[in-house]
Symmetry: none
Subunit: 220 residues, 4 copies
DNA sequence: AATGAATGAGCCTTCATTCAT
DNA sequence: GATGAATGAAGGCTCATTCAT
């Protein structure tokens, strides 16, 4: 009851604070960011943070929660009769766009990758609400592609390779832009998505075929 | 001049400071780490840092430089007549082991990934001495695999996908360990290297074959 | 004008605030007490204090005034023909009970002793309405006991010794309880009152007798 | 080891801080006192408190410890063949002078009475090193005066009455000065000591005599 | 009359840095 | 070269108070 303020103006201030804080935290990290910077950016009083969030740490947690909640778990729902290939491509495209969706605050991606790099208490929420659903979804899809004989380890390996490429794009964008200016250019995202899909499908099919050979050899 | 101390005991203090600082910086990041913590850990006087490194920032830079220097550019020198497959596997295995080499301070990997995530001025050195040589090496290898007709973009894409998997393993180890305890277990690193190699080769071959088809179609 | 609110609900809020404030001020002193604590305890809005009392300081003054008003100057009205001994005992008993009267808020005694220890502007009111009447009453009684020849100084000295014992009991209860658990036990108050009366009477008689001897010597 | 600084200049700063803090804490109490006030008064840097005492609270504790240590337990050692009367007078005079000894910081008495009124963790030290030795000493003396037949309760009661007068003088000096300007004047301390002694002796003798009568009546 | 929101002043504390020895 | 002491700048937080509704 103490921290639940329902007034409209209150919500507005909270929103401004979370916006500003998200930006600054993403730029500088938790410790280097100062609450004065944040409140200045938000155009509110310095003591507002304490009033609305008790604490700098609580504000940070709220920002993370907000960032997570901005990443709805609407995974691409292809008609189940679609080919696994189509579904994989949908997944890759969705992930690549979703994270850098221009409709979302620009700091969302950066902040989350910070948190992944140096987890705080807020990490659990991210894991539960953001990571796990996607991992499960991807595993299901990849199991479909690898076929019924795939072992759990093979599914995990395949998921690892696919998500690795997506995550690399998402989290190491800053570095990659310096290494591959063209590749990362916004207008080329679709081609990169194509590449990831094709590359991964080939890899997965190879896993499946090798599995079959092993299997047929094992059970002649 | 001012910062070059040649005394033996002086060098010893510098070494202790860099060791301690590396560990603490890796754990907490630059801002959250305090120089008192570092000097306590190093067992030296609090003023030593300013004496030997002028600055907290300078100490950090020195630590990064040290970490970089600890990562010599000894890329796997396979006989050039080896098959590209063998050379790719050597690259993957090398990268996976190199980063987590037990002969190096445990904080080296963490610190470098911090720096990649939130670059400071020290980033350029890392890029030049650590990243670029490896990227160039990988690109050369992948160009060999993709064949002479591969475009620059295709080389970059292939390199992206291969390095993505290695980097994912290296930087997101903490997260991955929670998602795939088995996959990341130390004793399974070799199998993961195998998987990455096979998966990537399949992907690269698919790129090559597609390129050929496209090429043959384009120039009949 | 401004501070006189006549509404019934208003008076109710004032009462709740004074009650809560009295308790908290007594526990922690003026500075350590926060108005949030007080309003929480009172179950009213945080801004109420400023609305009803203008100020934290004004609230404190009001609390003190209330505490003083709760200590009516009903001194023991023994029939004047009673022996001085009986009247002294009545005074001691009255003082011992009056202060810790269970019909009064428990914080009254503590708060007043705080104020005596670190006087604020409210001190004058206490002095005028609480202390002086009692001192005058006691002096009158003791003058009766010491007899007409007693000097003003002797009266003051006698009053000092008698009130010292009462005040010691009242203000240093916390400490005394640790030194003399038995002596301070509630059920033994009557015996302590007896003791104080007898002890003091003996002391006063000795003063009187000594005074007479001196006097007879001085005016032979 | 961390907080034990042995340098001469360090000790000097600590002394200046304790002096200033003692004065300010005595004037305003712990919460109302600000460390800026204290460091200004001491003529040292604001951060010195943290350096030497870690904390405002630790500084306060150090001040109390210092005040206690300034009150050596040198109780008046009258030749044991002295009359109890002489020894009682020595005790009273000693207590009255000791506390307000001009050779001691003026804030010592005030500070200790604050602490008695609102005990903090430092209270235990005061009790052990300051209060109890004196209480034991006084009880021994009063038992001598009351004679061998005195019960423990009688000893406690007698001690209560005697110490009440001393304590009243010591702790309520501020108030008493307004009620009895003459009585409390510095030049009259000796006469007050005389009065307390005589008054108390009379009270004690009365206790003794009453005890004897009771005893003789009880065991005829 | 009452309340939730907002504010600004001020306090304690931390910390990197400098100084004197 | 090394150390203990000192310093000032700045940060987070608390709190009494005010404002708008």
């Amino acid at each position: 009851m103490a921290n639940v303020k329902n007034n409209a103006s209150s919500q507005e201030t909270r929103r401004k604070l979370i916006d500003a804080a998200g930006k600054i935290f993403a730029e500088k990290g938790f410790h280097a960011a100062t609450i004065k910077e944040i409140t200045d950016q938000a155009g509110v009083n310095l003591a507002s943070i304490n009033y609305h969030f008790t604490d700098k740490a609580e504000l940070y947690a709220a920002v993370i929660r907000h960032a997570v909640s901005l990443t709805p778990c609407t995974l691409p729902e292809e008609p189940s009769e679609s080919t696994p290939e189509a579904r994989l491509r949908a997944l890759v495209v969705h992930a690549l766009h979703d994270f850098h969706d221009p409709g979302r605050p620009a700091w969302r991606a950066t902040l989350l990758s910070h948190e992944l790099n140096q987890p705080t208490a807020a990490m659990d929420a991210i894991l539960d609400e953001l990571i796990w659903p996607r991992v499960r979804f991807a595993r299901g899809l990849i199991r479909d592609i690898l076929g019924p004989k795939a072992t759990d380890e093979e599914v995990a390996q395949g998921t690892f390779s696919v998500t690795a490429q997506v995550v690399h794009y998402l989290y190491n964008a800053g570095l990659l832009r310096r290494l591959n200016p063209d590749l990362l250019a916004a207008e080329n995202v679709a081609r990169l998505a194509d590449h990831i899909t094709q590359f991964s499908l080939a890899g997965l099919y190879a896993m499946r075929d090798r599995g079959r050979k092993k299997g047929s050899r094992r059970r002649p």
